[in-house]
Symmetry: C2
């Protein structure tokens, strides 16, 4: 709470409740981390039961008439919920969460938790056999459950709005469409310009890289970024992710591909960007209504900044390339830094989103958004997704996945019921450049620092302008405060054009 | 439930409650596993809060007037609680658990959970610096909390009884003392006989063994034993242990010592013995009042059987020694199987319980029992423990630990509040031989099978006579049913004498 404010008895009740719910939600996160990272297959059924038991308890503790009354009383007590005090914002955030969760019948919540626990196993199996039919019945069920969920929030402008709002508070489907409609022609035009040029060589990065050395380098880089190992760890998971069990335990995962050293490296930097956001939330928000983050787009602005704007920059590799070369002399001994830099920034329409370059990435997202909207509107059927996926991949990116594992089955999100999540990736790309531009204006020396392997200014600026607020502000408030503008495509396109002008000599 | 019995509505309520409590207790176990195996240091404080939050919920769900009434009603409904039906035993087990837990004030439970979470970190630190003073205040607090707990069960024959009963249902302090009093002189006499003989050489096992090869061999052995990897995994932890998150997920841990290949190997076999018990409980007891095991002594009978009776036998190494030799040709190439067998059965009073040989192991336990009883009776002070420990080690085993890390700080148990646990290790040793003798009588061919690397008969017999009952019977009932006798020292001493007669040519 802000320094001199008194804590009323009712406010203390809210803080106590938030602390307990934080504990329980962090236990849920551990169950999920373990499920993806460590759990043997035989544990799946009982894990689903455990998630359901705890999910039910969390729901029952929060969605009670007493809590509803407490929040109403506190709203009267605090007055303006948009006031900039921690107390007012704690009530605002709690009120919004309460109003959303109170609409959800317990039975729907339980069915969703159980279905997604089973769906995760089905998705793993479907992906490993590249057999969509294994996953299809689960996805059909999930789409049905998400429709039921969205319909609880009628009237809405669009059935996709309630889903989107869970990940990106305050954002509407119409807003995203508007941004994407501005963005797409510019991305496509840039891609056409690039396609006319000779691509840089990147064969050197597609060789059988030693896994232990990949890991060593990845750990080295994120240590220098500022990832705090005392409050984190790095494990292997099929789908890289970040999760937190409190301010003191923010974990990341990656996976090493033998034939592509870039994959694990950039995903490690990406997840470290997420994790440093989690680790940067101040101690005063520990077990607090304002713990957590502003939104997934703001989260993604952090991960993409470290992965792309920094991790794929000339300055970064000026410092780190000699070390990377040292680890892989057979493959990189004769590759110059500039050739390496151009290679890792090669634009090439590809199948896998998480490995897409910066020029094509957002097109992967637009495809997913259209499918999600189609599923929710009922204009697309789950059974048709492999065909729809492949034909849109051909339209947007000019490539057709050789199998569903590298197509419609590639992402974990839908198996977890996370429909409405994907757009935040593209929004995060846009936000990352807006934040970067402002950081550059404040500290023009940052590129020189990065070329010396120093990241204090970058991390310090993000701590000050983003991390320190936890969940206090909505994402667009954060953007306005930090950059003077809401999320908008222009800076991102300017960044891409400038970058590829150099890499591709446009 | 047994095949044809009807489930009454009240019985169904009990089953539903047990299922939910099972889920929540398995989540507690995951929090603990992660704390010991994966959690970064920064996570300790919030983990303590999470354990407390969940511990409170479990307590509040179980200890209610409604549950008390439900159990009373069911008691009337089933009649004889000692009847051999699953229903009667479910009520009996639930009634006992309820009566114990209902005595414990929530505040005491909460303080115990929070104290032990902090004490675990303190113990890790104290052990790594070999500084008892870091752990002392936590242990004092724990002893005080355990006294408060025991006193809730007045009148008792002995203040240690309620603690012991938590780990070994139905066993009294006087019973253990009686068994130990018979056992000690015989163990001491055997030790003296052995001391007069030339010890076998075991220098070959104290060399810098490759860790990856140690792990390969350990995994190979327990796979052959019958450990089910689809429902388990093996990780590294400072103190090896087994834990379960359901029938489908029973995990073990070990730790590799470079200079002693026996340490990890025997501890891996030991934990696999525990885990195969957990994996052997039948599907019908999944999320059930009778899930789990009879007691820790019965559990230990399984682990010690696989570790010692089998894992240190001539027959076992007849089959496995060639493979072990192959992995470490530089150290073992010129060591014969019989020399190896004698070496791993060398008797040598040592500091560390978990690495003690079969002839000295129980003396480590007796020392701990005396200290625990002294602490609970108030005739010993925590601050004096390092001195008491070292002087009794000198008395019993003729050795003095060089530091507290290898003395009073070596075991994790007290940091977790587990006072009353240690005696079950010695009782488990005794029970393991009683079960083994009966197995031999039923299947005299088992040694030949083991010499061929076959363990189906052994595991099958344990499944039938021990595992299949879950928590249905008390430990002494299991022993009576399986062997015709309660836990008794004679078979164990006969086993030791026979073994060392050969190894030491007594």
């Amino acid at each position: 709470m802000s320094e001199n404010s008194q804590i009323s008895p009712k406010m203390q009740q809210l803080l106590d409740l938030a602390a307990e719910l934080d504990d329980l939600n962090h236990i849920m996160a551990l169950l999920g981390w373990d499920q993806q990272v460590k759990m043997p297959p035989g544990g799946a059924e009982e894990r689903g039961m455990q998630l359901a038991a705890l999910g039910r308890i969390i729901h029952e503790k929060f969605v009670t008439d007493e809590v509803g009354q407490l929040i109403a009383d506190l709203e009267a007590e605090v007055g303006d919920l948009n006031a900039e005090t921690d107390q007012a914002r704690s009530v605002k955030v709690s009120k919004k969460a309460y109003e959303k969760q109170a609409k959800v019948p317990l039975a729907l919540l339980m069915e969703t938790i159980k279905t997604t626990a089973m769906a995760h196993e089905a998705w793993v199996k479907a992906k490993s056999h590249s057999d969509f039919s294994v996953f299809q019945p689960y996805l059909e069920k999930i789409v049905d459950l998400r429709k039921q969920y969205a319909e609880l929030f009628k009237p809405y402008d669009h059935i996709y709005d309630p889903l989107l709002d869970d990940f990106e508070p305050g954002m509407k489907t119409a807003d995203v469409k508007e941004i994407f409609e501005k963005l797409r022609p510019q991305q496509v035009e840039l891609l056409q310009q690039i396609a006319e040029k000779e691509p840089p060589d990147d064969a050197f990065i597609k060789q059988p890289f030693n896994e232990a050395h990949q890991e060593l380098f990845g750990r080295h880089v994120i240590t220098r970024f500022g990832y705090d190992w005392n409050r984190g760890r790095l494990d292997i998971a099929p789908h890289p992710f970040t999760t937190e069990f409190g301010l003191g335990d923010v974990r990341i995962t990656t996976r090493y591909l033998k034939e592509d050293a870039g994959s694990a490296l950039f995903s490690t930097m990406h997840e470290a960007g997420h994790a440093m956001y989690g680790q940067g939330v101040p101690e005063k928000y520990k077990r607090h209504p304002l713990s957590g983050s502003a939104s997934l787009a703001i989260h993604e602005s952090q991960s993409r900044l470290w992965e792309n704007i920094i991790g794929r920059s000339k300055e970064f590799w000026t410092h780190f390339y000699p070390s990377f070369q040292m680890l892989f002399p057979a493959y990189l001994g004769n590759v110059s830094m500039m050739d390496f830099y151009r290679g890792i920034n090669k634009v090439e329409p590809s199948f896998i989103r998480v490995e897409a370059d910066e020029a094509t990435y957002n097109l992967h997202i637009m495809l997913r958004l259209e499918i999600e909207i189609g599923l929710m509107e009922g204009t697309m059927e789950v059974g048709d997704l492999p065909a729809i996926w492949n034909s849109r991949m051909a339209d947007y990116l000019g490539v057709t996945p050789p199998d569903d594992a590298r197509g419609v089955l590639q992402d974990i999100h839908w198996s977890g019921g996370m429909i409405g999540y994907f757009p935040t990736y593209a929004l995060g790309n846009l936000a990352s450049v807006q934040l970067w531009d402002k950081l550059m204006a404040d500290h023009p020396n940052v590129p020189d620092e990065i070329a010396q392997g120093k990241f204090d200014t970058v991390l310090g600026w993000m701590r000050e302008h983003v991390h320190q607020y936890g969940a206090k502000y909505e994402p667009q408030e954060i953007m306005l405060k930090a950059t003077g503008s809401k999320i908008t495509p222009e800076p991102y396109m300017a960044y891409l054009r400038k970058k590829y002008m150099e890499v591709y000599d446009l």
